[in-house]
């Protein structure tokens, strides 16, 4: 099995759900498809999607909801099952 880090391209505030009322995009253990959104980062009133680069299983999140992230920081780990 190979672990892949999901990285945010921008700095800002990390959210695991699209809005406060909704369920998280993904929970640990969920399957994820390459290109699927696993969180959003708010910067300058923009919401930048953070997408998985590979398909597999979400192993864990590395940043908590509403945590501050830097550009290039890994926010989650996906196991591609390979």
């Amino acid at each position: 099995m190979a672990d892949h880090e999901v990285v945010t391209p921008v700095p800002g505030t990390f959210y695991r759900s699209p809005d406060p009322e909704s369920a998280p995009f993904k929970s640990e253990g969920d399957t994820v498809v390459a290109g699927e959104t696993i969180g959003v980062v708010e910067i300058m009133k923009n919401f930048q999607h953070v997408d998985a680069q590979v398909s597999g299983t979400v192993l864990r999140f590395l940043v908590e909801n509403e945590g501050f992230v830097a550009a290039g920081q890994p926010v989650a780990v996906v196991d591609d099952g390979a």
Partner: protein, 333 residues
Amino acid sequence: MPTTNDCWRYSIPIKVIKPGLATSVQDLGRRGYYHVGVPPSGALDQFSLLAANLLVGNSSDAAALECAYMGPELHFTESTVVAATGADIELQINGQAQPAWTSVVVAPGDVVTFGYLKRGARMCLAVAGGIDVPEVLGSRSTYTLGALGGHEGRVLQAGDELAIGPVRGKVATRTVPLALRPDLPSELEIRVVMGLYDHLLTDLGRQTFLATSWTLTPVADRVGFRYKGAQLDMVEREQPFGAGSDPSNIVDAPYPIGSIQIPGAVEPIVLHRDAVSGGGYAMIATVISADMDAIAQSAPGSTTRFVAVDLYAALAARAERAERISRLRGHFG
């Protein structure tokens, strides 16, 4: 000597594949219309814009691209020269890293991309000839809130095509010496002149403002930079006629660029070059002009201490900055 690039030409050599986060066309800005509500706009980090233009052989009033936090992906269909300055974010051509603060040759078919932001917040990409968009009120700068200037009055989108202006002469490869490049610290000291409304703070409020290490929030764009860190104590008073009910409200007044307002006496906002020209929040201090480039390069999560200086110190800092700019110009002969 004249070269093949010496004659006037019109071409659209840049295609935007990915726009980045908030990439816009900016020049030195639009002077003289703030009193009617049109802010100066222009590159937030003016020093980096000037350096980028000098690197590619442009006049200082040429327009370039300003990119915040994340760079665009651009496809060039013609040979030209580019330079990236400002934030520490790797310039790449066809995936190969290029030196920062240096003029770099781009060949037809090349794709320009950027790495992740490491330090600072805003990168400036200049292209020889300048980004050729129509002047509006004497400037090519984008003012998105007014939907004017720049490329169709907005930030770039995927699929946009950008023209560049005529290039005069050949561009030599140049680099800006390290000593002339700005520091991009994550802990900043920003100088301010107190007033005009700091009398609405108590002594404790004033002390708290200057003693707090303020953290820049992600609400930091071309209009203003919002910080958090403390609640400021304000003088209790009966709000005057025309002012809102919050203690931080005043009867509407014009807002200088760099002025610091504190809605709710918490979360100060430093207004930058796309600011609204007036409103009803007390401005407790104003950032000196020499430190506005540093504000532009502060990234969310960085911390800032505001240091009170008098007007003489502010003018001395302005003269120092002008001297640094003339050293930069001198380097390019």
